[in-house]
């Protein structure tokens, strides 16, 4: 069994408290700490790196105790060997790109050091920038240098604090796709802090949703999105239907996506065939009693209503069409159509309402 990172900490601030209990397997997978700003995500990350000291609890990395209030142990950031990626990069402005990447690589031989730097330069496509000054780099370039610097020490755990938030939109979209692939070769567990749903869906395997300093939900990413355990979580994640699927083929700007043997057509913005996360908002689903012949909606799914839940002025229907999917309709529609559990219905979804996130 894989070793685990046990996190059970509490940190007090005037007027608020941050507490989190979780255990992460130390395997090369991505955990997303997700939540609105001020939820306490970055503080948790800083506590893991040793940059802040929790007020109570413990952090254990495998057999190592990193922090324990009871045993009065708190080892320094230097001893933890984590890689920490700062939101604004924190590159050393007075050193060249190459010197930033190789900073403090003192425990290995000069040959080994040069080899490592060369590998980083190659991986992150920095060959033209090696001797450049940090101030002369663009945002995307700085981001790559910061990643290279963090990974050059082969950290045992990678902590990313909003790694894409300081980038302009086109670079962000491109790097969102590339980041997982780039980091795969390093085979380390990654903990990512973000408030961006798309980023979480593209990068995460597991998701921990935080709000006001507490964990609302913790589980596999598709499950957290599709089955939020409470209304606050649903509000924060903002998308009720998320399924792992894969793009089978592409044609005319559309992608044929497979989810549990069902084929759906989705508007495709430059994704290639392969695994994806498929997201559909509950309010984008139209319910009909009979199968429709003339409709602009590209996707029609037949299924049975499993549950009907009243939510203020709306009604949430859970429909089983091989997989469970949530739809939000008005109370009036429910009454008019006499919708109830075990009734058979047709769901229609426009191709543009199906959101694809490369995974």
């Amino acid at each position: 069994m894989a070793e685990k990172l046990l996190i059970d900490i509490q940190k007090d601030f005037p007027g608020r408290q941050i507490s989190i209990q979780t255990a992460l397997e130390l395997t090369p997978s991505w955990t997303v700490l997700f939540g609105p700003s001020g939820a306490g995500k970055s503080t948790v990350l800083r506590c893991l790196a040793g940059l802040e000291t929790p007020d109570d609890g413990e952090i254990c990395f495998g057999n190592e105790i990193w922090f324990s209030k009871n045993q009065k142990t708190c080892i320094t950031p230097q001893q933890r060997g984590t890689g920490f990626f700062f939101q604004d990069y924190a590159l050393f402005p007075h050193l060249s790109v190459k010197k930033n990447i190789g900073y403090n690589l003192t425990e290995i031989s000069k040959d080994e050091k040069n080899k490592r730097i060369a590998r980083m330069v190659d991986t992150f496509d920095l060959s033209k920038l090696e001797n450049r000054n940090i101030q002369s780099l663009s945002g995307g370039e700085k981001q790559r240098v910061a990643l290279a610097r963090t990974l050059c020490r082969y950290p045992r755990l990678l902590l990313l604090d909003e790694p894409l938030s300081a980038l302009d939109n086109p670079s962000r979209i491109r790097l969102r796709k590339e980041l997982r692939d780039l980091l795969r070769q390093f085979k380390i567990p990654v903990i990512l802090v973000t408030h961006d749903r798309t980023e979480a869906l593209s990068l995460g395997d597991r998701m921990i949703v935080m709000n006001h300093g507490t964990v609302l939900q913790d589980g596999p990413i598709a499950e957290v999105f599709s089955k939020p355990n409470q209304k606050t979580t649903a509000g924060i994640v903002g998308m009720e239907n998320v399924f792992p699927g894969s793009i089978r083929e592409k044609k005319d700007g559309l992608a044929i996506v497979e989810i549990n043997d069902n084929l759906l057509e989705a508007a495709n913005f430059g994704l290639d065939t392969g695994p994806v996360m498929v997201g559909i908002r509950a309010e984008d689903i139209v319910i009909r009693l009979a199968r429709e012949t003339n409709s602009s909606a590209r996707n029609q799914l037949r299924g049975t209503i499993e549950a009907v839940v009243l939510e203020e002025s709306l009604v949430r229907l859970t429909v089983n069409c091989g997989f469970s999917i949530d739809a939000l309709i008005t109370r009036e529609s429910k009454e008019e159509m006499k919708l109830d559990v075990s009734r058979e219905v047709t769901l229609s979804v426009k191709a543009t309402a199906i959101h694809l996130f490369p995974h």
Binding site: A49, G50, L51, T76, P77, Q78, R80, G81, T82, G83, F84, F86, D88, A90, L91, F92, P93, H94, Y103, N104, E107, R149, T150, R153
Partner: protein, 225 residues
């Protein structure tokens, strides 16, 4: 033996600035990273010369380095001469008197370096000392220059402390400010005017240079966040 008071002043200011780099950088560096609760007491002690009348400071220095005191008698035993009314005595007094003018700009410089740079270095395995030497120090060069120039200029212009501790011995402790005082007392206005003008032009030149090279770091009182 240097007899010109101006040259003596410049020699004193150079020695004092050099010593203040040696003492001030570790002291300011320690103040910038320590989480000691009583740090403010050290800061207050360092800042005292700014508010104390030079005569008060001079009096205490004179008393504490006199051969009757423990420090003074040790110095006498080791070097065979007394500290008061000598050039080394002047150096000791000037270092204490100018300490805040070096330490505070240094500290302001260190504290203006983004804390995340240090944190990044720590997560990359660099010790606190290495981080200070390789990241913080090179990023605070403007603050170091300001501190150096200020302590040089301040030492050049001191009067009260020098008079009390050093007296007025030509070639040994008669610095330029004291020689101007002497000239005025002797009604040698023309000579006093020349010396004063030299000092005025020199000080103005030095300060303009500091303002021109780094406006931002000019902070005598660093903000402690």
């Amino acid at each position: 033996m240097i007899t010109d008071p101006l040259l003596l002043s410049i020699k004193l200011a150079t020695v004092v600035s050099a010593l203040l780099f040696l003492i001030g950088i570790p002291l300011a560096g320690w103040l910038s990273i320590t989480r000691l609760r009583w740090k403010f007491l050290i800061e207050a002690i360092v800042a005292l010369p700014i508010v104390l009348p030079p005569t008060v400071l001079g009096y205490y220095i004179l008393v504490s380095i006199s051969p009757n005191s423990s420090i003074g008698s040790i110095y006498l035993d080791v070097f065979g001469s007394a500290l008061p009314f000598s050039f080394p005595g002047l150096v000791v007094a000037s270092v204490l008197y100018s300490l805040p003018f070096a330490v505070q700009p240094f500290l302001a410089g260190f504290e203006s370096v983004d804390r995340r740079l240090s944190e990044a270095a720590w997560t990359l395995g660099a010790s606190r000392l290495k981080t200070f030497l390789t990241i913080v120090l090179p990023s605070s060069i403007p603050g170091l220059i300001t501190g150096g120039v200020l302590s040089f200029a301040h030492t050049l212009g001191e009067f009260g402390v020098v008079l009390l501790v050093g007296g007025n011995i030509p070639g040994s402790t008669q610095v330029v400010s004291i020689s101007i005082y002497d000239q005025v007392q002797a009604l040698e206005y023309e000579q006093a005017g020349q010396t004063s003008l030299t000092l005025l032009v020199f000080s103005f030149f030095v300060l303009s240079l500091v303002y021109a090279t780094n406006r931002k770091v000019w902070t005598i009182w660093p903000k402690n966040s």
